[in-house]
Amino acid sequence: MHDDLYLALRQCIIDGDPEQAIELCQRALAAGIAALDAINEGLVPGLNHVGEQFAQGEMFLPDLVMAGEAMKAATAILEPAMQKAGARRETLGKVVLGTVQGDIHEIGKTLVGTMLSASGFEVHDLGVDVPFETFAVKARELNADVVGVSALLTTTMTGQKNVVEALERHGLRPRVKIVVGGAPVTRSWGEEIGADGYGEDALAAVALAKTLLGK
């Protein structure tokens, strides 16, 4: 019935076009499409397509990032309608993310955040040079499922351990999962400090978060 609109929604994600996404979402609501259907029948298939094409080397990081931006713009329009209808889009989980204290490397962490939110996680990016405690305080405040800690320096990697300890002190473990990443970080380092997982890149981070939350 609304197949054309669903296809257009899918396409605006593939095109990474936030303006088009906003317009199409407004049109969909006006046409009486349920917000949840617009997401599940239109936007998400678009996102899946981009993810697959990226994995095959046919699409590139800017495509991925812009698809994420279009998705964000679209859900901002659909969100109020969903709340009114009492429907809730099931996010895959809440993630608190940041680069650890003393470290200002930002690009990889932001990419991880983009991919997580594009894949359906609710991401709270705390930025860079984030104090250990802040990870724990925010995780509690937001009732997070996962805390992601990035470190690019061997000198700041040790801070990931402090974050694990801070979450323990706040009584958030083992409920809140901790994932770590960054160039010098390894799987065995993750194990050593008692984190729940290590992600080599942004796609691995998504897979890891899904596995940890049983999604």
């Binding site: 990081l61 690009i107 061997t154 160039a183 390894t186």
Partner: protein
């Protein structure tokens, strides 16, 4: 004539600088170091919410007070590295976290012993005008990681050093180490042995630590290298020209902070600009656009009359394979032709993450080739060919001429055993070894021939005392990497 590669027209250089001056005024530069903010505000830059708006006139004064030339010295006090003009020198890449294990090809975490081994190999190769603090030591407490590297290089080398700190509080200790080695702070100021890389965060941001480093180094008279790292497409505009503007703005703002702390202190227009690989999300150090960016950045620096630095000769390959050789070869040659004063990055694999002693010896061959190109083609006698033809005639027995014997060494670069030019038969007879196998053998030879350069006992004692104190505070009982 030293052959040259120029890839920017003069008019484009002026446009790049024009936009760079605009950027540092508006939107301005984020500056977090209180010391740097104070200097900028005192000189008339408007500071609003942590952002400094630097007027062009102030920037031009700083560019004018920065020296056109300075030298780094070896332990004997000889001025062996020239920053300035079209001098071209190479040093190994810095701060890798992995080392390529030559036996297993595994990328292992680096330890003090790995750094010592790399320093020993680089010490033996004349192609490396300077050492670098090549890898971090994972067997040393993280808090002392940066200064411990410098300590090991000072113990095992007499060459100049390209180094850098990981935290603000390390710089004073590292300066103390260098002063101990040079015979005091005044001696260090007069004849600096090391240059420190200091990185702005792209885009246009001086972190607390980097801004503080600039001020500390300027005041100590120890050369600073402003290493701007714009990643085209991720942390900088995707266009190469746009990235050059950001690079210039970052360098200029750094030089302003530095020169305000101490006018006339030695500073380098440096950089590690690179493109961001849109498939893998890595910084593509071996990409040809990365080499183009480095040459172009240096060209802008030369236009301003400043000493230059770049980051080339590293590769994105994971082992020492054809990709590694190809990327490093192209980039080293382009950097050399660009007349970049110090080219860092030799020995590196996996886009700045992994070091390899075997690659250092291969890159030394690349560097020797590049250096040969720089010597150019020049006449060696009264006639170019006539005199030799007068002797050899149409028989053409040039091998019998005295000139041939006398001149071939200056005309031809003689590669080491890493390069195979022998016959197929000879190659088969000697085990049909590939480049990597030959490089491994050469590393073993160099290590066997290495002797630790002389270091006065009291200086060594002083270095150990300084580092020992830091180590104890960090809870380390023993100092690794002191053997041989």
């Amino acid at each position: 004539m030293q052959p040259k590669l120029e890839i920017l027209e003069r008019e484009l250089i002026e446009r790049i600088l024009g936009e760079a001056f605009t950027l540092i005024a508006e939107p301005g530069v984020k500056v977090q170091a209180p010391a740097a903010v104070e200097l900028l505000a005192g000189a008339g830059a408007r500071i609003e919410e942590g952002v400094a708006h630097i007027p062009e006139a102030l920037a031009r004064r700083a560019l004018a007070s920065a020296p056109r030339e300075f030298f780094l010295h070896n332990r004997a006090g000889e001025a062996v590295v020239r920053y300035g003009g079209d001098a071209v020198q190479f040093d190994p890449g810095s701060s890798c976290v992995h080392i390529l294990d030559p036996a297993t090809l595994e990328h292992r975490m680096t330890q003090a012993a790995d750094l010592v081994r790399l320093v020993q190999v680089a010490e033996m190769l004349p192609q490396y005008a300077a050492q670098s603090t090549a890898v971090v030591c994972n067997d040393v407490p993280k808090e002392t990681g940066d200064l411990y590297r410098l300590f090991l290089v000072l113990l095992h080398s007499s060459k100049p050093i390209v180094t850098g700190a990981f935290a603000a509080h390390s710089v004073p200790v590292m300066i103390e180490l260098l002063a101990a080695d040079s015979g005091g702070r005044e001696a260090l100021r007069r004849k600096p042995r090391a240059v420190f890389d200091v990185c702005p965060s792209p885009p246009l941001h001086w972190s607390e630590f980097a801004g503080q480093n600039l001020a500390d180094l300027a005041r100590a008279g120890v050369p600073a290298e402003v290493v701007s790292v714009p990643l085209a497409g991720a942390a900088a505009p995707v266009t190469l020209a746009g990235t050059l503007v950001q690079h210039a703005a970052e360098c200029i703002s750094g030089i302003v902070i530095h020169q305000l702390a101490q006018p006339g202190a030695p500073v380098v227009w440096g950089g590690a600009p690179a493109i961001f690989d849109m498939r893998s999300g890595i910084t593509a150090m071996g990409a040809v656009e990365t080499a183009m960016l480095n040459v172009a950045c240096a060209q802008v620096g030369k236009h301003l009359g400043l000493p230059t630095h770049g980051y080339l000769t590293g590769s994105d390959a994971k082992v020492m394979d054809a990709q590694a050789g190809m990327e490093s070869g192209v980039a080293a040659l382009m950097g050399a032709l660009g007349g970049i004063n110090m080219i860092s990055g030799a020995g590196m694999l996996d886009s700045l993450a992994c070091h390899s002693a075997e690659k250092l010896v291969l890159d030394a061959e690349t560097i020797a080739m590049a250096q040969r190109v720089l010597q150019g083609i020049r006449p060696r006698g009264e006639s170019l060919a006539l005199a030799m033809f007068a002797q050899a005639g149409l028989r053409g027995e040039f091998l019998k001429l005295a000139e041939t014997r006398k001149l071939f060494r200056s005309e031809q670069h003689l590669p080491s055993s890493v390069i195979d030019r022998g016959s197929l038969h000879a190659w088969e007879q000697s085990g049909a070894k590939d480049t990597f196998a030959r490089a491994r053998e050469r590393v073993a030879e160099l290590l066997a021939a290495y002797r630790r350069p002389a270091l006065a006992a009291e200086v060594e004692g002083e270095l150990k005392a300084i580092v020992g104190e830091q180590a104890r505070r960090a809870g380390m009982e023993q100092l690794p990497g002191l053997g041989t």
